[in-house]
C-alpha cells in the first residue's frame, strides 16, 4: 500500500503557492488570516511572504487562535534566534550532508534511477511527553493483541471457529503462509519490530491508520533524520530536551540476541535485504552498520544440514538470527512464493526446526490487511479482556453485508482500498472520480465486496514545513515503532518517521508520491539520558582485527568496483591525452601521435575513430567516448558502473570513499549538449582533469584508509588487473607498430601512463623506445608499470584465505606465470623493430594479455563460485518468472 490517505482541504484545491512554481511569485495575494500564525512564528527572509494556505482542522504547532502551542515555543524561539540567513545556511549544509552520506529512497519508475536524495524538512515535529505516553500505552496494547492474534491464526484458529474473525480475511490472504501453520516461534515473539501509521484528527486524537507487521521500514531513516537534525539545530535540540533514540535500538538488539537459538553471547545476526533495487536499500545498509549486523542478500545465504549459513570467502559461517527486510512470501522459493529468488531456499524448514530465528516472524504480514482494523476492538476484548486504548481510523470490511450497505450509502465520504495490499490497487476516492469510473468502482465493489475495505476520510493534522524559505502547511502521518523487549513486552521509540504530504491538498501522504520526511521530537519530562549506541558511548568492545567475515558477494562487488574505477581512470587519462592535443594544436599535422592515440581509444571505448579519416575531426570522435551513455564503454557509462557497484558495497567502503564516488558521477548524468551547445575542448578537458583528480583521491583512500583485509585485497586485485589490461592495450595500440615519427607517441604513452616525470629525471629529453618500455613495462619500482601490477596481483593472490597444506593454487600459478614472463623479458629486445613491427613486444603483450582473463576466472572459481544462483527443478516448476520485484510497505 503506497501511502496514507488524507482528506483534501475542505475548501477544495488551492492554486499552487510561491513555493511550488516560480511563476506565481510575482502575484502576491493579500495576506490572509489563516496564515498569520506561521508568519509570527518565524521571520521570513522575504518581508512580504504572503501565502494563502488552506486551513485544515488541527494544527500541530499552533492553537486555533494562531499562537504557538506551548511545546513548540522553545523550538520557534531557537529558530528565531538563528535567523533566516543562518537557518538557510545550516540547511544547505544539512542537505549536502544528506547527499554526501548518500541517503536515498528509491522511487519506482523515477528517471533518476536508483538514487533519489532523501527529502528531509528542517522543522521537526514536536510531540509532548503526555501525547507520547498515550501513544506508547495504546501501541503496546495493540502489539500484544496482534501477537496473540498471530499465535491463534498460526495455531488453533479459534477466532475463526468462534466467528470472531471472518475466514475471508485469512484463507485467501496472500500473507497467510500455510507453511508456517503449526510452527512455534521462539519465546512466542512474532513482532520484533512493529510499526504503526498514525494520524491526528480534527478532535486532536491520534488514530492508527495502518499496521506494519512483517518488515516495517523507516526506523533507520528516523535515525538518520535525527543525526542530521542534531547537527543542524543543536541548540534547539538541547533546549527542547528531546528524548534519545539509542535505547530503543539497544532494546531491539538485546531482544534479537536473546532470541538466538544458540550462541546467545555472540550470535551471528544478518540483515536480509532484497538488494540495491529496493526502495529502502539505503536504510538496510545504514541499519546494518548501526546495529553491527552483516548486510546479506538471499544469495549470500545458504541452507546446509537444516541450518542457515552465510557464504564468506573462507567458507560457510552459521547464522543464528535473520533480521529481514524482505516481504514474507519472498523469503523461501522452495516453500513460499516460487517465482522469486530473493530469499533463501529451505529457510522455512530451518525456522520450523528452530535452528534460526527470523525477525519479524514469517507470516506476520497476514494481519496487515486494513480490514483487520474493523475487528480489533472486538478481538481486544476477547483476547485481552480489555478495551482497545487507541482507536483506528474508521474502517469497514465490505464482505460484511451491513458494512457493505453503509459503504454504498456513504460512498463519497470514504476511501476504498483493496483488502490485500499485494493486489497493488491504489486507494480510490470515489468522490474525486469522474462519474463513469465511480460507477465502475461501485459495480466492482458490489460484484466482489469482500475484496474491498473502506475507510473514513480522515482529516489529518497539519504542521509547518519549510518551502523556499517560508513556512507552509502540510499534512502529516507519523510512523511509530515498537521493539520487542526481553521481558515479553515492548519498548516504544520516542520519536518516529514523520512524513508530510507533497502539497497542501494532497490526497496521499507517501514517500513514493513525492512527500517529505521530518524528524520527530518527543519531549522529555525529566533530564534526557545521553545514552548512545555509537562507539563514543562507552560501549565495551572486544578487541579484534578480523572485522567480520566478508560475504563472497561483497568480495565480488569490491573486485568489480576496483576494475571499474581503474577502467575509468585509464580511459580518462587516454581521453585527456587526446583532448589536450586537440586543444593545443590546430591540425593533425601538428600532432603525429594523434592517430595512434585515437586507435587506442577505439580499442578501449568503441569510439568511431577508424583509420586516418577519423582524424579529420578527432574531437567529434572524442565526445561520444566521453558522454554517450548508450555506449557501454564510454567514460560516462563506466562512471555510472562505478557508482552502481559502489552503491551496492556502500556498507563496506568508508564515507569518504563514497563521497568521492558521488563527486565522480556529477557530470556523467548531464547530457553532453548542456544548454543546447556542444562542450568545447576546454570544457571537456576540465571535466577530464577533475575526473582524474577524483579517481586519484579514490585510489589514495583505498591505499591509505582501508585495512588490508580480504575486502581490500579484492578491490586491489580488481584495480591491478584492470590497470594491467589497460597498459597492455595502450602499448599494443601505440608501440607494437611504430609510427614513422615515434618521439611524440612515446611521449604521449609516458604521459598517459603517468610516468613522464620519472622518465625525464632519468633520461632528460632523449626519447628512446627501449628506455620507455623499461620504465612502463619492466620497472617494478614504478607503481604504474605493467610489472608492478603483476607483482601486486601475485601478492594479493598469496594473501587470500586458503588451506595451508595444499600447494600453489591455480590463481597463484597464473599470477606468477604472468609476472615471470614480464620479468624475463629484456627491454632492448622488446624495442627491436622487424618488418615494421615489434615482434617481441607483441608476443609479450599477447602472452600476458591472455593470462589476465584466465587469472580473473581462476579467482572467481576459487572464491566466488558459490555465487551460483538457485533454480527450480524443471517439470514441477510451472510458473513463469515475474521478476524480482517486491511490494514495498508503503513508507
Amino acid at each position: 500500500m503506497p501511502g496514507e490517505v488524507t482528506n483534501p482541504a475542505s475548501g477544495g484545491r488551492q492554486p499552487p503557492g510561491p513555493g511550488t512554481s516560480p511563476l506565481t511569485r510575482a502575484a502576491r495575494p493579500e495576506l490572509s488570516a489563516p496564515l498569520m500564525p506561521y508568519r509570527q512564528l518565524l521571520p521570513s527572509a522575504d518581508a512580504h511572504a504572503p501565502r494563502v494556505e488552506p486551513r485544515p482542522g488541527y494544527d500541530e504547532a499552533t492553537e486555533p487562535g494562531g499562537t504557538p502551542r506551548p511545546h513548540w515555543v522553545k523550538l520557534f524561539d531557537s529558530l528565531k534566534q538563528l535567523g533566516p540567513t543562518e537557518l538557510a545556511r545550516r540547511w544547505r549544509e544539512a542537505k549536502d550532508l544528506i547527499r554526501a552520506n548518500g541517503v536515498t529512497y528509491n522511487v519506482y519508475g523515477d528517471p533518476h534511477g536508483i538514487a533519489r536524495p532523501w527529502q528531509l524538512d528542517p522543522i521537526p515535529l514536536v510531540i509532548t511527553s503526555a501525547d507520547a505516553a498515550i501513544l506508547e500505552r495504546g501501541l503496546v496494547q495493540r502489539a500484544r493483541l496482534l501477537e496473540l492474534l498471530l499465535a491463534d491464526l498460526y495455531g488453533p484458529q479459534r477466532l475463526l471457529a468462534e466467528g470472531l474473525l471472518p475466514p475471508e480475511l485469512v484463507f485467501p490472504n496472500p500473507g497467510f503462509l500455510r507453511a508456517m501453520h503449526g510452527v512455534s516461534v521462539p519465546a512466542g515473539r512474532y513482532l520484533h519490530l512493529y510499526g504503526a501509521n498514525l494520524g491526528r484528527g480534527n478532535d486532536g486524537q491520534w488514530r492508527v491508520i495502518g499496521d506494519r507487521t512483517q518488515a516495517p521500514s523507516g526506523a533507520g531513516y528516523a535515525l538518520e533524520n535525527r543525526i542530521v537534525m542534531t547537527r543542524t539545530l543543536p541548540e534547539a535540540f538541547r533546549e527542547c530536551r528531546v528524548q534519545r533514540l539509542a535505547r530503543f535500538f539497544q532494546s531491539f538488539k538485546e531482544t534479537l540476541r536473546d532470541l538466538a537459538p544458540r550462541n546467545k553471547d555472540n550470535p551471528r545476526i544478518v540483515l536480509l535485504t532484497p538488494g540495491p533495487y529496493n526502495e529502502t536499500y539505503f536504510e538496510h545498509a545504514y541499519l546494518a552498520r548501526y546495529l553491527g549486523y552483516t548486510l546479506a542478500e538471499g544469495g549470500d545465504l545458504t541452507v546446509r544440514d537444516n541450518r542457515v549459513f552465510l557464504k564468506v570467502l573462507g567458507g560457510l559461517q552459521p547464522v543464528d538470527v535473520i533480521f529481514r527486510r524482505l516481504d514474507d512470501d519472498f523469503c523461501d522459493p522452495l516453500e513460499l512464493r516460487p517465482d522469486s529468488f530473493l530469499g533463501v531456499p529451505g529457510l522455512v524448514n530451518c525456522v520450523r526446526r528452530g535452528t534460526v530465528t527470523v525477525a519479524n516472524a514469517l507470516g506476520t504480514g497476514v494481519i496487515e490487511t486494513p480490514a483487520m482494523l474493523a475487528f480489533l476492538p472486538k478481538l481486544c476484548r476477547s483476547l485481552l479482556g480489555e478495551d482497545l486504548l487507541l482507536d483506528s481510523a474508521p474502517t469497514w470490511w465490505c464482505g460484511d453485508p451491513i458494512s457493505l450497505r453503509y459503504v454504498v450509502d456513504h460512498f463519497d465520504e470514504l476511501v476504498l482500498k483493496p483488502v490485500f495490499p499485494a493486489s497493488r490497487m491504489e486507494p480510490e476516492f470515489p468522490a474525486e472520480l469522474p462519474a463513469e469510473r465511480r460507477a465502475e468502482l461501485l459495480a466492482k465493489l458490489k460484484a466482489r465486496p469482500r475484496d474491498f475495505v473502506a475507510q473514513g476520510r480522515m482529516e489529518l493534522s497539519s504542521t509547518p514545513v519549510m518551502n523556499d524559505g517560508q513556512l507552509v502547511r502540510r499534512k502529516l502521518v507519523v510512523r511509530s515503532y515498537l521493539a520487542a523487549d526481553t521481558g515479553g513486552g515492548f519498548a516504544f521509540m520516542p520519536g518516529g518517521m514523520t512524513r508530510v504530504s507533497a502539497t497542501s491538498d494532497a490526497l496521499v501522504v507517501s514517500m513514493q508520491c513525492g512527500g517529505g520526511s521530518k524528524d520527530t521530537w518527543v519531549l522529555a519530562d525529566a533530564a534526557v539520558s545521553e545514552f548512545s549506541l555509537l562507539p563514543a558511548g562507552g560501549l565495551r568492545v572486544p578487541i579484534t582485527r578480523s572485522g567480520g567475515d566478508l560475504p563472497s558477494r561483497a568480495a565480488d562487488n569490491l573486485f568489480w568496483l576496483g576494475r571499474y574505477v581503474e577502467r575509468a581512470e585509464g580511459l580518462t587519462r587516454l581521453l585527456r591525452g587526446i583532448v589536450v592535443r586537440i586543444g593545443e594544436r590546430s591540425g593533425i599535422g601538428d600532432s603525429p601521435e594523434l592517430p595512434a592515440l585515437l586507435f587506442a581509444l577505439k580499442t578501449q571505448a568503441d569510439a568511431q575513430a577508424t583509420g586516418p579519416d577519423a582524424v579529420d575531426d578527432p574531437f567529434a570522435r572524442v565526445l561520444p567516448a566521453v558522454f554517450d551513455l548508450e555506449n557501454r564503454n564510454s567514460l560516462a557509462s563506466v562512471v555510472r558502473s562505478v557508482r552502481h557497484v559502489a552503491s551496492v558495497v556502500r556498507d563496506l567502503i568508508s564515507l569518504d570513499m563514497w563521497r568521492v564516488v558521488t563527486m565522480l558521477g556529477d557530470w556523467a548524468n548531464e547530457p553532453a549538449d548542456r544548454d543546447g551547445g556542444t562542450p568545447t575542448p576546454a570544457e571537456v578537458l576540465d571535466v577530464l582533469n577533475r575526473n582524474v583528480i577524483t579517481l586519484v583521491a579514490f585510489g589514495g583512500l583505498a591505499a591509505e584508509s582501508m585495512t588490508r583485509g580480504e575486502g581490500w585485497r579484492f578491490l586491489d586485485m580488481g584495480r591491478k588487473l584492470e590497470r594491467a589490461v589497460h597498459t597492455i592495450n595502450l602499448l599494443r595500440a601505440t608501440l607494437v607498430t611504430p609510427a614513422p615519427q615515434e618521439g611524440p607517441v612515446l611521449d604521449a604513452v609516458l604521459e598517459i601512463i603517468d610516468s613522464r616525470m620519472t622518465y625525464r629525471r632519468r633520461y632528460l629529453s632523449s626519447l628512446r623506445a627501449e628506455a620507455v618500455l623499461d620504465l612502463v613495462v619492466e620497472d617494478e619500482t614504478n607503481p604504474r608499470s605493467l610489472a608492478a601490477q603483476l607483482a601486486d596481483l601475485a601478492d594479493d593472490v598469496d594473501h587470500l584465505p586458503r588451506s595451508s597444506e595444499s600447494g600453489r593454487s591455480p590463481e597463484q600459478r597464473f599470477a606468477l606465470a604472468a609476472l615471470g614472463s614480464v620479468r624475463f623479458a629484456e627491454p632492448e629486445k622488446l624495442a627491436m623493430v622487424d618488418n615494421s613491427t615489434r615482434p617481441a613486444l607483441k608476443e609479450l603483450l599477447d602472452h600476458v594479455g591472455n593470462w589476465m582473463p584466465v587469472l580473473s576466472d581462476a579467482i572467481t572459481q576459487q572464491y566466488l563460485s558459490h555465487l551460483q544462483v538457485s533454480r527450480h527443478l524443471a517439470t514441477p516448476e510451472p510458473l513463469r518468472r515475474t521478476g524480482a520485484e517486491t511490494v514495498g510497505d508503503g513508507l
Binding site: A161, F171, T302, P333, G346, Q868, L873, P878
Partner: protein, 308 residues
C-alpha cells in the same frame, strides 16, 4: 500424461482392489548439482476408501536429511536435502494400496444450499471446506466460468447431478491434447482453447465450481489404466493423474474426474489434495548448479488380483 478410459465405469467392480504402484522420477544434469532441496507429495494419503499396506521412498543419492510430516492440508509430505555433488537424482516411490469402491452418497441436495451455508457455517468440516472456495494461483474465479457452469447448475438442482453434468460437458467439449498446454498454462487459456490435459481440466473444473461459490479441491493421484483390447499391459506407461473433489455439504466430499467423465470408484488412487497443483505437485525442488537438465517420469500401476 494420462489416457482416457475407453468406457465409462460400467465394468465389473471387485469389492476390493489391490495395486502395486511404482513411480520413478529421474533428473539428469549436464553439470554437477551441489545442493538440492526438495519437497515431495509422493506418499499415499490414507482415506476412508484406501489404505497403503506398504510405502517406501527411495532417493539416490542418499539425502543428508529426510523428514516426513503432514503439510497444512494433512498430506504426508517429504522434505529432503542432497548436499553431495551429483549428476543424477532418482526418486522412486513404491506403494501397495488397497482401494475400496466408493458409493455415491445418498444425500444429494440443491447446490445453492451448500453455497449459501459455506460462508456462515463454522462447524469444523464446513470451515475446512470454506477455504477451498477462494481463488488460488492456478484456479482463479471469473464470471465467464460461472456462466459456463450455470448451464448445468440450474436452480435447485441436486449438487451431484449438476456437477456430474458439468463434468460430462467438459469431457465432451474439451479435447485431450498434451501439446496444447504446459504446466504453466493459465486456466483462461485452457478455457479459450478448449484443450489440455488432466491437470488443466481439473483446474478449469475448480475454477467453474469456485466461481459459483462452491468449495472444490485439487486431487493428485494415480489412475489404473486398462490396456487396449487384445494388447498386453505396458509397464511404466501409466501416469500421475489429477481430478477434483467437490464439497457437497452434509454429503461430504465427492470426487469427479473431468478427464474421464467419471465419479472415481476404485481405479483412482489418492496421493494428496490441496487448492491446486502448486500445493501438491509430486516433486518440487531448488537446485544449485546443474547446467541443463532433463526429467523423465515413469509410473506403473499394476492391479493385483484379489483373492476370492
Amino acid at each position: 500424461m494420462d489416457s482416457a478410459l475407453h468406457r465409462k465405469g460400467a465394468e465389473y467392480i471387485d469389492p476390493m482392489t489391490r495395486y502395486a504402484i511404482t513411480h520413478v522420477t529421474t533428473y539428469s544434469y549436464t553439470e554437477p548439482v551441489s545442493l538440492c532441496q526438495n519437497v515431495a507429495h509422493l506418499f499415499i494419503r490414507p482415506s476412508a476408501h484406501q489404505r497403503a499396506e506398504s510405502s517406501e521412498l527411495v532417493i539416490a543419492p542418499e539425502p543428508a536429511f529426510l523428514e516426513v510430516r503432514p503439510d497444512y492440508f494433512g498430506n504426508p509430505t517429504h522434505f529432503f536435502t542432497i548436499q553431495e555433488p551429483h549428476r543424477e537424482l532418482k526418486v522412486t516411490a513404491r506403494h501397495r494400496v488397497t482401494v475400496l469402491p466408493s458409493l455415491p452418497p445418498a444425500d444429494n441436495n440443491p447446490w445453492e444450499g451448500v453455497r449459501d451455508r459455506l460462508p456462515r457455517h463454522t462447524a469444523p468440516a464446513w470451515l475446512d471446506a470454506y477455504q477451498f472456495t477462494f481463488d488460488s494461483r492456478y484456479a482463479t474465479t471469473e464470471p465467464r466460468y460461472a456462466a459456463y457452469a450455470a448451464e448445468s447448475f440450474t436452480p435447485n438442482r441436486p449438487i451431484i447431478d449438476a456437477a456430474a453434468e458439468l463434468v460430462a460437458r467438459i469431457h465432451r467439449e474439451f479435447v485431450y491434447d498434451p501439446r496444447a498446454t504446459t504446466v504453466s498454462t493459465p486456466v483462461s487459456e485452457v478455457f479459450e482453447k478448449r484443450r489440455g490435459v488432466c491437470q488443466d481440466f481439473a483446474h478449469f473444473l475448480l475454477a467453474c465450481l469456485r466461481s459459483l461459490g462452491l468449495a472444490a479441491r485439487y486431487v493428485s493421484g494415480y489412475l489404473s489404466t486398462l490396456p487396449p483390447p487384445g494388447r498386453p499391459r505396458v509397464v511404466g506407461a501409466d501416469a500421475t493423474h489429477a481430478w477434483v473433489s467437490l464439497f457437497c455439504g452434509d454429503a461430504g466430499w465427492v470426487d469427479f474426474d473431468p478427464t474421464n467423465d467419471q465419479i472415481p470408484t476404485d481405479r483412482h488412487v489418492l496421493l494428496a489434495w490441496g487448492r491446486d497443483y502448486e500445493d501438491v505437485s509430486p516433486l518440487k525442488g531448488v537446485i544449485l548448479g546443474g547446467g541443463q537438465h532433463t526429467v523423465t517420469v515413469s509410473v506403473d500401476v499394476r492391479a493385483e488380483t484379489s483373492p476370492g
